[in-house]
Assembly symmetry: C2
Homo-oligomer: 732 residues x 2
């Protein structure tokens, strides 16, 4: 069974074998075909992946076959052991496939034979939390993940088993597991939800392996095979036409694995279905979109995101390998290079080989608009990038305007919120989830109470808050029915723009936000102009928070400092978690705050349409278990009848170099910011300390050929299209 090849021919074979072996669930009749047993016959990335797998599987083998009676919930012993087992079945099968070493085959077989004894005896899980109990695990989702992995490992050894062994494992593990997911758990199976994607993937791949057409059909088209549910429908409903997954990047990454792995199995077993071309290539588009939703490898953390999730995650190792094999897009190789990981499949071998051959090209990170919703009509996420690209092809600065829909239960109440990254750091922040994943001391690693009381609340975001309540009054079910409208988007160099509006977040209040990244001579990029309007027939209090990262250098307004005892800002809707450091009443509505982060200065400068109270605060009040991070914010508070308007500027300036003891432009280069409305148009005027003056004017008319003009302080300015930057007469 084991073939000894020379190094050169092994590499050749690894590619030649690719077609025959590419569906892990449908093993060809040869094993050990990808290379000789010596891992040095592989490209470095693949070889190190083999080492890692050997270390893990050999360790499992040394511990013997351990298939315990299911007992514990997530994190407990039996839960973790069954997770280890499915990884060992999966990777053991791969190692057998690659090396032909029968020890791996025997181990995978023995584990599965143990499951064959156990599985038929299982009923509801003793630790089930609701009606959706798994068999091996406490919830159906984990059983589906088990099946997706185990069926692939089984596929690698099945044709080498005796008929009796094969029969026993087919009939006592995989058929009943597929039956459990697709028939007994039909409520989960037929949902349009990522849990159902895992289930259909497991069932469908089992169907392909066992040659059970009925199973495959149910996986593809739902339990009644009508196409109203099932995998194909999921590809049509769970992603927007731009490949955006409504829960946001953190969950998009998680959902991606079953989509791509099952997609790959469909492609290999049923190529006529052209699954990777389905819906304009949505599966591969979703993968690229996932990558676009990251900065320096880390996903934008909006909604219930764990902030340390990056492109270095197993879902994307699989995804990149599959997508590269489909497309040979050299940009995907640079993602694999960043990951430093791949998978033990022929696709992974191809990635490793082409990466070693120097074929990688930078990933084309760029500005883009990602519509939300199956039809692309439920709002959008706008991503504006600019600045010099680093070695990975990623520009220094990115601004994200979150004008998307709620995104179900993991959504946050942050309509029209935004974020900004620059110089490798998150400058205008999103808190992400209040959760310490898998850390027992923090409520078993589950979502913390502060996830609801702080992280989801509107005031925890860079979002306009009315009357100290959250959007949609913090009601998720209600929130799922409404979304903002993306009214304009432009990625034009030197004047990128995103506009959004929503009138359903608060009864009787209409809110609009326009974010502009203009190039202004004399000011460094990145520069962001933020225009927020809200109007209502009623009188309201409007709070506009900016959550920033850095240490305060100075602010230019008078404020009372609470140095011996900090009051708490409010009592509910997140306000109970805010300490007040300082508070100042600004009659003219104008002020500026400068902070430093990582050798770079930033100034937030604002001008409101009337008096505001500026509040410097910090998260962390009413946090009995020390669950919250303590992070600074500034809140602009205005009470208005009718309309409120906040114009503001986030200005990047100067630098601090501790090594060279050199500091440049530590103070803002802007002398003044003013904002005027002329009819329905907004005119923001900047006066630089150099005396140069500029207007940034917004017509809100998307017609690029329409010409607009306005009178400000006796000067007439004019521009074409939605927005313009106009140089004004220089001040004396």
């Amino acid at each position: 069974m084991m073939r000894c090849l020379s190094l050169a021919s092994a590499l050749t074979l690894a590619v030649t074998a690719s077609a025959g072996l590419a569906s892990p669930a449908l093993a060809a009749d040869g094993h050990g075909g990808m290379a000789s047993k010596a891992s040095d016959a592989h490209a470095p990335l693949f070889a190190s992946e083999m080492e890692r797998a050997r270390e893990f599987v050999d360790g499992m083998m040394a511990g013997g076959v351990v298939v315990p009676q299911p007992k514990d919930p997530g994190g407990g012993y039996t839960h973790e052991q069954h997770k280890r087992n499915f990884r060992a079945i999966y990777q053991g099968g791969q190692l057998f496939e690659i090396t032909g070493d029968e020890r791996y085959r025997d181990y995978v077989r023995d584990v599965l034979l143990e499951y064959a004894d156990l599985y038929p005896t299982l009923g509801e899980h003793p630790a089930k939390a609701n009606q959706y109990s798994g068999r091996i695990f406490w919830q159906v989702l984990n059983d589906a993940m088990w099946l997706v992995h185990a069926v692939q490992g089984y596929g690698n050894i099945r044709d080498t088993l005796s008929d009796a062994e094969r029969q026993k494992i087919d009939d006592q593990v995989f058929r009943p597991a597929a039956h459990f997911l697709s028939v007994e758990s039909v409520e989960t199976f037929d949902r349009i939800h990522n849990h159902a994607t895992w289930a259909t993937a497991g069932v469908g791949m089992t169907g392909y392996l066992l040659g059970d057409e009925d199973m495959v059909e149910r996986a593809l088209f739902g339990s009644d095979k009508s196409g109203e549910a099932g995998f194909i429908r999921q590809t049509e409903q769970l992603f927007s036409p731009d490949g955006y997954y409504t829960e946001g990047p953190y969950y998009q990454r998680f959902a991606l694995l079953p989509f791509l792995v099952f997609g790959n199995a469909i492609e290999k077993n049923d190529p006529g279905r052209a699954i990777f071309e389905h819906r304009d290539g949505i599966l591969l588009k979703a993968l690229r979109t996932t990558i676009q939703l990251s900065y320096r490898g880390y996903f934008f953390p909006f909604n219930d995101a764990i902030r340390d999730k990056s492109l270095r995650t197993v879902e994307l190792y699989e995804g990149i390998a599959i997508a590269y094999a489909q497309t040979r897009d050299p940009a995907l190789l640079s993602v694999a290079d960043f990951q430093g990981r791949t998978v033990l499949t022929p696709d992974g071998a191809l990635v490793a080989r082409d990466l070693a051959a120097g074929k990688a090209e930078p990933f084309p990170f760029r500005s883009l608009l990602l519509t939300d919703g199956p039809e692309g009509d439920q709002g959008a996420v706008a991503v504006l990038r600019q600045g010099e690209a680093n070695a990975e092809g990623e520009p220094a600065t990115v601004l994200i305007a979150k004008n998307s829909s709620q995104g179900m239960g993991h959504g946050h109440f942050d309509k029209l919120a935004w974020q900004m990254y620059d110089n490798g750091n998150e400058i205008v922040r999103d808190y992400g989830a209040a959760r310490f994943l898998n850390i027992e001391a923090k409520r078993g690693g589950r979502y913390l109470p502060e996830n609801t009381s702080w992280a989801k609340s509107s005031v925890a975001h860079n979002a306009l808050v009315v009357d100290e309540t959250s959007h949609f009054d913090g009601n998720g079910k209600y929130a799922d029915k409404y979304w903002p409208t993306q009214t304009y988007f432009s990625d034009a160099e030197g004047l990128q723009v995103s506009s959004g509006m929503i009138d359903s977040a608060y009864p009787g209040v209409s809110m609009k936000r326009t974010l502009v990244m203009p190039s202004i001579p004399g000011l460094e990029e990145p520069l962001v102009i933020d225009l927020v309007h809200a109007s209502s027939d009623a009188s309201h209090q409007y709070d506009l928070p900016l959550h920033y990262s850095g240490h305060i250098m100075e602010y230019d307004f008078e404020a009372e400092r609470f140095v011996e005892g900090r009051p708490v800002l409010g009592s509910d809707n997140g306000y109970q978690h805010i300490w007040v450091d300082a508070q100042g009443a600004l009659d003219d509505g104008k002020g500026a705050l400068t902070w430093i982060l990582d050798g770079q200065f930033y100034t937030y400068r604002f001008a409101a349409n009337g008096p505001v109270t500026a509040i410097l605060g910090e998260s962390g009040a009413n946090d009995p278990e020390f669950n919250l991070r303590r992070e600074p914010m500034i809140i602009l508070r205005a009470r208005r009848d009718g309309e409120v308007a906040f114009a503001s500027l986030v200005e990047t300036h100067g630098s601090y170099d501790g090594a060279a003891e050199q500091t440049l432009d530590s103070r803002s280069l802007v002398a003044d910011l003013t904002h005027k409305r002329v009819g329905q148009m907004d005119i923001v005027q900047l006066t630089l300390k150099s005396g140069q003056r500029y207007a940034v004017a917004i017509s809100y008319n998307p017609d690029p050929d329409a010409t607009h003009s306005a009178q400000i302080d006796g000067e007439t300015i004019s521009w074409d299209g939605y927005a313009g930057v106009i140089a004004l007469a220089t001040e004396e």
Copy 2:
């Protein structure tokens, strides 16, 4: 004048030329001798340095010769312009030396001719802050720095000038500047202080260049040439025999430049003096010691240190080049590699060439004891390293016991304090200085009021505080007269130990501290045991703070949480800056606190000899200008008549991997910690959750052959020497 060489011969010549050109202040008669004019004839590090210098000097040349009338203090225009000028003279001279391009020569000459017109007209500086006024700058120190740099640039061009030019610059710039420093400013010149080192270096190098033996003698032996002052005396008085500079690593780095640059000039001009062998090679030893006082390139930030100072600093670019040329020690090349910089001297060319030739070897970071004081009898700094070394040869963990003397005006009141780094991070912290260097908004970049009120105070350190006052009552002049005794040090693998004591920090209170890094089977390294004793005839309150970095996971004691308003801990001596988050009275004196930092868990576990109050706090109260960083601490507070004892443990455990969603050992592996005194011996017992039990026993007898034994709970333990780790019977 310009020689065109092939690439190969240029490299050869660069080395050959080294002897003749190595004294920048004594240029040989050839210029452009180091290489062809094409910078690509140089090794990459040197070539990029040339590019950097060209960019700077070309920019200066484009701006013309600008030598303004002195007017401004530090940071102001004339100050910065004269700084730029001395850099341009220095680097312009080097560029002329290397390339032979006469534009550089002409520019340096023209600038110096301008100074020749200006200098004789100068009197006291209009912005002088005290009696030590400079001429070009507001303080003497800056004038000395000007001379050290300018004389080197002048040395590179002097032999190419006309006699008239040379005479004018000699007589109207360098002679009067040397006279100003060594005669008019004799009080500074004759000090034993780093300011005097700059002055003697400038004067001595000027003496060598002008062939003025009298000037050289004064520089070497003081204004009266008695040897009571001057450079030689400074090398004997300012460093300890181990090459430790009493102000600490941050200032050691600063002091190093004139020591090594003038040392190098002495070596070249007066080789018989064997300056680099003087006092057992103290100058090169001081350089190596400076490097040892760093972690991941950053200097240990004790005393008034700016925390972002690293090995990447101009003083050490010069230092490494000079030391490498003297020693050819390949370990210094890896420091240059880390720096990514060198200097435009033959020594720098040699570093760049040997680095490019792959000759670098890891720097031997290790455990070591650095005595303080000219005779090595004023305390010490103990550095304990352990763990796997990274690519640069640096172990993962370092513990620093600061048992050194006060270190003059920049010293902090932190006797017997300690720090720990692990996994790339500072785990047990030192605040460093409260200062934003060169940032105008922060009081012009000067030391902030909080530097005195917080950063220097004892409670801001990991130091024992008696009755809420700082050591030596915060009196620096008084503090300079006393220091701890380093009573023991061992770098034995698996059981490293540092012990220190002091009885002068508080009247009538004797304090001892022993820090141990033992290897305990079943516990991950690094593990630190900290034993603090104090005794007094009077009743006192003892506070033991631990300033840590990370987010609280859990603590195992009852504590009142101040979630709606945090009290301030005290009113003076640093206590006014501490917010209280929680406070608990622990009758048995025992407790544990776990935090996470960067994927690593740490538990601080303590056992005191009686009740303590545990205070969880944070810096940042009473900070009206937002000058302080907000950082967590735990303070153990005990009131005692007679003796107080705190035994504690910092345990590194487990890991959190967000990418793999894998958490290991997030909870402490220790079940219990107890501490007993048996006569004068200390016995710390650890019970692990596995049931294993260990004793760490300290006899305080340095004789390695002495055998000790003690009875604890019916068990007899015995060990040899100062300390031992003893396995006890396993618990059921």
